[in-house]
C-alpha cells in the first residue's frame, strides 16, 4: 500500500521535560488543526487530574497511533491505562531519567501474562 493511500498518524508523548525535549528533537512533535500539541510536559506542579485529562484527550484523537508515557507518570494514572483495551492508540511505557523501566509494572505485559493461571500449570 502506498504512502498516499494511508494518512500518517502521530506519536504522542507524556513525560518529564527531558523526555519531551528529546522526543521532540527526534521529530515527533506536531500541532493539529485545533492547535493542540501531541505532547504534555509533566513537572512537579502538574496535577494527576491534568495528566489524566491529557491522556484521555490523546486517546480520543484519531490522529494519534502511539502514546509514549514515562513509567513513573503512568503509575499515577494506572487505573486509566489499565482500562484502555483498544489496540489503537497503543500505550507504551518508557523509562525516565530518574527511574529505569520495570516490566513487572507494565500494563500490557501484565495483561499478556495473565493467560497463565495457576490451574493451567497443574
Amino acid at each position: 500500500m502506498s504512502h498516499s493511500a494511508v494518512k500518517g498518524k502521530l506519536i504522542a508523548v507524556i513525560g518529564d521535560e527531558d523526555t519531551c525535549t528529546g522526543f521532540l528533537l527526534g521529530g515527533i512533535g506536531e500541532l493539529n488543526k485545533k492547535r493542540e500539541p501531541n505532547f504534555l510536559v509533566v513537572d512537579k506542579n502538574t496535577s494527576r487530574h491534568d495528566i489524566e485529562e491529557a491522556f484521555r484527550g490523546f486517546l480520543k484523537r484519531d490522529d494519534i497511533a502511539i502514546i509514549l508515557i514515562n513509567q513513573t507518570i503512568a503509575e499515577e494514572i494506572r487505573y486509566v491505562i489499565d482500562s484502555h483495551d483498544q489496540p489503537i492508540p497503543a500505550v507504551l511505557e518508557i523509562p525516565s531519567k530518574d527511574s529505569p523501566y520495570d516490566s513487572s509494572k507494565d500494563s500490557i505485559l501484565r495483561r499478556a501474562k495473565g493467560m497463565f493461571s495457576a490451574e493451567d500449570m497443574r
Binding site: G27, I88, L92, P95, L109
Partner: protein, 190 residues
C-alpha cells in the same frame, strides 16, 4: 476425536512457543530502548554543559513551525500493525498555508497563478524544519548525537508497539484454543 484433541494440543504448543519467542524479542527491544534513551539523556546533559542549562530545554521548542518528521502508518489487517516512515518526502503531508498580501501581476503568459512577493505574503506550504534548528545554527555534536539517539528510540518504540500487539493477539488465540480443547475434551468424556 482424539486426533482433533492432539491437533489442538499441537496448536497450543505452537502458540505458546511463539508467545515466549515474542516475549523474548520484546525484552530485547525494551533493553535497546533503555540504552538509547539513557544515551540520549547523557548527550543532552553534555549539550547543556556546552551551551548552558537554559539553552537546551522545552522552552526552545518552537510550536508554531513544528511538524512531525516521523509518522506512523496503521494497518489493522496485517501482523505488523504499525509502520513508521519519514514524512519528509511525502507530498500528501504538506499543509497549504494561505496568506493574503501583495502579489506580482502579469509576470508572464505561461504563469496562471501570480507569483507572491516577499516571505510574509507568500502562499506557501508549511516547511518541515529539522528540530535541531530550534537550538541554534552551530549546535554541539553532543546535541546531534542526542537527536540521533532519540530518532532511533522512536523506531524502537514502533517495533515494541508491534511486538506488544502481537503478544496480545497470541494470548487471545491461545485462550480460544483452550476453550475449544475443553469442549472437545468434554465431548470425548461423554
Amino acid at each position: 476425536m482424539m486426533t482433533e484433541l492432539q491437533q489442538i494440543n499441537e496448536e497450543l504448543d505452537t502458540k505458546l512457543i511463539s508467545f515466549f519467542e515474542t516475549l523474548s524479542s520484546l525484552y530485547q527491544e525494551q533493553e535497546k530502548l533503555n540504552d538509547q534513551i539513557k544515551d540520549g539523556f547523557w548527550n543532552m546533559s553534555r549539550a547543556r554543559y556546552n551551551m548552558g542549562i537554559k539553552f537546551v530545554g522545552i522552552d526552545q521548542i518552537h510550536e508554531d513551525n513544528m511538524c512531525a518528521l516521523t509518522k506512523v502508518k496503521v494497518r489493522e489487517d496485517e501482523t505488523e500493525m504499525f509502520e513508521g516512515y519519514s514524512s519528509l518526502h511525502a507530498p500528501e503531508e504538506t499543509q497549504p498555508v494561505e496568506t493574503v498580501g501583495l502579489r506580482k501581476r502579469n509576470v508572464g503568459q505561461s504563469q496562471e497563478v501570480s507569483t507572491p512577493v516577499g516571505d510574509d505574503t507568500a502562499s506557501k506550504t508549511k516547511k518541515q524544519h529539522d528540530p535541531i534548528r530550534w537550538f541554534g545554527v552551530l549546535v554541539p555534536p553532543s546535541l546531534r548525537q542526542c537527536q540521533n539517539q532519540f530518532k532511533s528510540s522512536v523506531e524502537t518504540t514502533i517495533a515494541i508497539a508491534n511486538l506488544k500487539q502481537k503478544l496480545l493477539g497470541l494470548k487471545s488465540e491461545y485462550l480460544d484454543l483452550q476453550k475449544r480443547k475443553a469442549e472437545v475434551a468434554s465431548n470425548v468424556s461423554k
